[in-house]
Amino acid sequence: MNTFLEESAYFGVVVSLLSYELGTLLKKKWKLGIFNPLLLSTLFTIAFLLIANIDYDEYNEGAQYLSYLLTPSTVCLAIPLYENLGILKKNWKAIFAGICSGVLSSLCCILAMALLFGLSHQEYVTFLPKSITTAIGMGVSEELGGYVSITVAVIILTGVIGNALADLVFKLFRIKNPIARGVALGTSAHAVGTAKAMELGDVEGALSSLSIAVAGLMTVAAASVFAQLL
């Protein structure tokens, strides 16, 4: 049975899709931000792999075709961006200020907590690019001498947390403006946050995808300065 599952070409995709469906059902039932389909489906899939004793590589044999679509899907974020260019032009000062403050608060926050928990320099630079998109973040971590595999894990975790907690954070801090919500999601939780922003609306999605690019590039520059501080 196990060997069959490990060799099946569709099994990985099916498990991912079914657990996503289950996550969506639970979310509908309990309307709580924590019951986030992405978070739940990740946990279900991990639980399933552990219980059935299936290796990640074997799961990914099929599931990689989902990842394959990530780049084309990201490219298509240009569509809501194009449709909302007017909003972007009208509010560029606020958007730029929001992304700048987000990038700086991210780096300051990591520095403060690295001091608090007594992290080594190598651990500290591993966390510096945690809020930006994986492909840029990996490069930053490598450049600064961090543990790249941990950086990737932390970036994904950041995205999932941002995706799951967005409703709660927006409620708590009374962030109601769709532009502000988009900037907040893209700056704090990159593409995974943008997936959430797209669920909220087109304006949110457009601003979130713009923020990924701008925050990513700003972090590349600012992280090398912050790396000197610890």
Partner: protein, 122 residues
């Protein structure tokens, strides 16, 4: 046929993104170049919106799902993270919430502020 053509355009632009990523010595991923190329193509009309819209909306809609394999990949680095997982989780959780709140609040504040100024000017 409509979807095949739309999908082909999107994949071609993704490919161009990969080409730029290969050629330019910047730490910018192919997908970000792809967004810029797509935006440029839409803006100049080289690619009209209707010729990518349906397939594009579909791809954007399924985006959260596409992150599952990467997120499940967290289990492959568990051994490395395990000794300090609680600290790492706290750092990630706290900083993500702070960044989201700060960037959202600042954007909202500046929008309100400039909105007021514009009203006064009018």
């Amino acid at each position: 046929m409509k979807y095949i053509r739309q999908f082909a355009i999107i994949l071609f632009i993704s490919f161009l993104g990969e080409v730029l990523h290969e050629l330019l010595p910047l730490p910018v991923p192919a997908s970000i170049y792809g967004i810029l190329i797509m935006l440029l193509c839409l803006k100049t009309g080289i690619v009209p919106l209707r010729s990518v819209k349906d397939a594009g909306k579909f791809l954007v809609e399924i985006m959260p799902l596409l992150f599952i394999p990467a997120a499940v990949g967290l289990i492959t680095v568990w051994d490395v993270i395990q000794p300090k997982w609680a600290i790492y989780l706290i750092i990630t959780l706290v900083s993500t919430v702070i960044v989201m709140a700060v960037s959202g609040l600042v954007t909202q504040l500046v929008i309100r502020h400039t909105g007021k100024k514009q009203e006064e000017a009018e």
